[in-house]
């Protein structure tokens, strides 16, 4: 059983991607929890932390939403570098980065234990019907 990493109450994972989801920057919390250092993350697609349990529909909804210029929110199970996983409640904003390029800003916080349980079940169902 792969180990779950539970975020602490104050965890605030932030990352910045370009319009194709390539990581341009990530904050310390994100690096620390995902188990990468910043240099390893920059230039990589954000799917580097994607977990296999996540249904495709979740990411489709994410991309459909943010490409329209709307804010996407949702529960995401992410994979760490050493094979563990952690749950986040993510909010993805379309935004213009400091170089004036179109990109996305992703902010993640700790979801409640009940929310994790609910979505673990829900995503399993989605995954089955894929």
């Amino acid at each position: 059983m792969k180990k779950e990493l539970v975020l602490d109450e104050f965890a605030f994972l932030v990352s910045e991607t370009d319009s194709k989801g390539i990581i341009r920057f990530a904050n310390d919390d994100f690096c620390k929890i995902a188990g990468y250092n910043l240099e390893e993350l920059i230039g990589q697609p954000h799917s580097i932390v994607r977990h296999n349990d996540m249904p495709k529909a979740a990411f489709k909804s994410l991309w459909d939403t943010v490409k329209k210029g709307d804010v996407w929110t949702g529960y995401v199970k992410n994979a760490t570098k050493n094979g563990g996983y952690y749950w986040v409640y993510g909010t993805v904003f379309p935004f213009d980065n400091s170089d004036g390029e179109q990109g996305y800003l992703s902010c993640r916080r700790k979801p409640s234990p009940q929310e994790i349980i609910d979505h673990e079940v829900l995503y399993k169902e989605w995954k089955k019907s894929e």
Binding site: E9, F12, V14, L38, Y75, F95, S98, L105
Partner: protein, 609 residues
């Protein structure tokens, strides 16, 4: 429908309808009670009538039997005081009687008439002392008829009462039926209202529960216990539904604001992480409605633009310094304090130092270049010279030999010169004396020339006066006219002579001046000669002295030359070493020159004020 309306509908409705129904029932009951009273009254009357009827029937039977037995009877009552009369006459005065239907009234009138008649007959019969057979027969014959009419009247009235009683009984039945209906309606309505009221109450409780859960979720969301929130759905249009819509609206607003804040905070975190890593060219672009968050973001942005500005200035300056351009300085904002101020000031000081240093380097380099060029040149010369020196030294050695012999000759010559010097000394003294004499002679000539000059002055004055006299004589001769003609000729001749003598005197003066000049020149020459002799004298003395020195020196020279010989040998060796050294030095000088060139070229490439 609002809760108030719902409650009003259920409780108020129930209450209202109950009141209406109770009032209706009360009214119905009152009517019923009234009717029962009427019914009782009628029953009493009917009973009384029945009694009257029965009483009269009994009375008639009694009277009949009395009469038939041919007995007398006593009767104390009259038609008004008897039982029927007591009832009947007051009854005729009542409204009841007046409202009776006319056939009944007529029958009651007949009853009264016959009753009165019956009493009258019976009274008459009772008053008679003996049994009046006529009266008795009359009574026997008429009394039943009269009684019959009385009973008919009473029965008619009684029937009417019975009919009324029946009517009241029917009405009362209807009223009771109405009351049952009302009770049934009340029960149904109560049931309906109870059902709807309960349903309303249950719905309200459900709405309140949904609202309560929704509100708790909302607070959990605000307190970050849950991450996301669905709007609550309360059916209907009551206050709770409106409140839930209000909460939903606020959920939307708060969610949006939390999202906005999160976006700003996300950017703040990313930006400050970048700043931590030394990236200053970034700004927070999102906005929040939260004034504190917005102020934080704008403060960070302001700080970033200032720091970025300062950093890019520092970077540009340091890059320029790195590229050897020390001309520009960091412009320091008057707002800056402490560390950044110190850094910027230090960079400016560094720039100044580098500029000064570069300038000094260039100057020193140029100086060195010039010096090294000179040195190089000198060293080349030195090398050449050293080589030449070496060559020369050989010649020198040969020369030294010659010098040895020359020195010997010199010593001899010096002795001879010493002797000659003494002779010259003597000759000079003689020459000096002669020159003094010449000088004195020249002075005498000068004195004589002065005397001649005075004499010439006299001659000049004489010739001037003679000329004036000759003029006077000419004037006198002219005055004398023809007699003076000859004299005038003489006067003219005298005048000519005077002029000639003046000219002669002038020529002599010129000659004498020339002589004086020459004499002066001669004196000057003789003075110079004296001086020359004095100098010569000194010089010859010195020469003699020198010659003696030379003589002595020549001897020392001989010793010296031997030493020179040794030295030349050594010099020859040293010179050869020098030649090598100077070649080496020339190489070094070349290198130094090259370095100096490089130094200057490097220093020149640097830009400074």
């Amino acid at each position: 429908m609002s809760i108030k309306q719902k409650l009003f509908m259920s409780i108020g409705g129930l209450f209202g309808i109950s009141i209406v129904l109770i009032l209706s029932m009360a009214l119905s009951s009152t009517i019923l009670v009234g009717q029962l009273h009427d019914f009782e009254t009628l029953a009493v009357k009917i009973e009384k009538n029945q009694k009257l009827i029965i009483a009269h029937e009994k009375f008639m039977e009694k009277m009949n039997s009395t009469l038939l037995k041919n007995q007398k009877y006593r009767s104390s009552s009259t038609h008004t005081t008897c039982v029927l009369g007591k009832w009947l006459y007051p009854f005729f005065k009542t409204d009841e009687y007046k409202n009776l239907p006319s056939p009944i009234q007529m029958k009651l009138q007949v009853l009264e008439k016959n009753h009165k008649k019956l009493h009258a007959i019976s009274h008459k019969y009772a008053q008679s002392d003996s049994v009046d057979t006529v009266l008795r027969n009359d009574l026997i014959n008429t009394a039943p008829l009269l009684f019959k009419d009385i009973i008919i009247g009473l029965e008619a009235y009684n029937n009417l009462l019975l009919k009324k009683e029946k009517q009241i009984a029917e009405t009362a039945d209807f009223e009771v039926f109405i009351i049952y209906i009302l009770i049934a309606i009340l029960a149904i309505i109560t049931l309906l209202i109870g059902f709807f009221g309960t349903r309303t109450a249950l719905n309200l409780a459900k709405s309140i529960k949904i609202f309560h859960t929704g509100l708790n979720n909302f607070f959990d969301f605000i307190n970050r216990k849950v991450s996301s929130l669905q709007p609550m759905y309360v059916k209907g249009d009551d206050e709770i539904a409106i409140m839930s819509q209000g909460v939903n609206k606020n959920i939307e607003i708060v969610s949006k604001e939390i999202q906005d804040d999160m976006k700003v905070m996300g950017e703040v975190v990313i930006t400050l992480d970048k700043v931590e890593q030394g990236i200053y060219g970034c700004q927070i672009k999102s906005h929040s409605k939260n004034p504190m968050v917005e102020t934080l973001a704008s403060t960070i942005n302001k700080m970033l633009s200032v720091i970025n500005e300062d950093m890019s200035q520092l970077r540009s300056r340091l890059e320029e310094y790195g590229n050897n351009d020390f001309r520009n300085k960091v412009s320091i904002s008057p707002k800056l304090k402490e560390d950044m101020l110190a850094v910027m000031q230090s960079v400016n000081i560094l720039g100044d130092s580098l500029s000064t240093s570069a300038k000094a380097n260039l100057n020193n380099g140029r100086h060195l270049e010039k010096s090294s060029s000179t040195m190089s040149h000198s060293v080349n010369n030195l090398a050449n010279k050293a080589n030449q020196q070496a060559a020369s030294l050989e010649e020198t050695a040969a020369a030294v030999e010659e010098i040895t012999s020359i020195t010997r000759n010199n010593a001899n010559n010096a002795s001879q010169m010493s002797q000659l010097g003494s002779k010259v000394n003597k000759a000079v003294s003689d020459g000096m004396i002669l020159a003094n004499q010449t000088s004195q002679a020249m002075d005498s000539i000068n004195e004589q020339v002065s005397a001649i000059n005075e004499a010439i002055t006299v001659i000049d004055q004489i010739s001037f006066q003679t000329n004036i006299l000759s003029l006077n004589a000419a004037v006198e001769a002219a005055t004398a006219g023809e007699a003076g003609k000859g004299f005038a000729v003489v006067a003219q001749e005298v005048r000519n002579l005077a002029s000639r003598s003046a000219e002669a005197a002038k020529e002599i003066k010129t000659l004498v001046e020339n002589a004086a000049t020459k004499a002066n020149e001669g004196k000057k020459v003789s003075d110079e000669m004296i001086q020359g002799y004095e100098t010569l004298n000194t010089n010859t003395s010195e020469t003699i002295h020198l010659i003696e020195d030379v003589s002595a020196a020549s001897k020392e020279q001989m010793t010296g030359i031997e030493q020179i010989n040794d030295s030349v040998t050594m010099l020859d060796r040293v010179t050869q070493e020098n030649a090598h050294e100077s070649d080496a030095v020339a190489q070094i000088a070349h290198d130094v020159s090259k370095l100096a060139n490089e130094l200057v070229s490097d220093a020149s490439s640097k830009k400074f004020n």
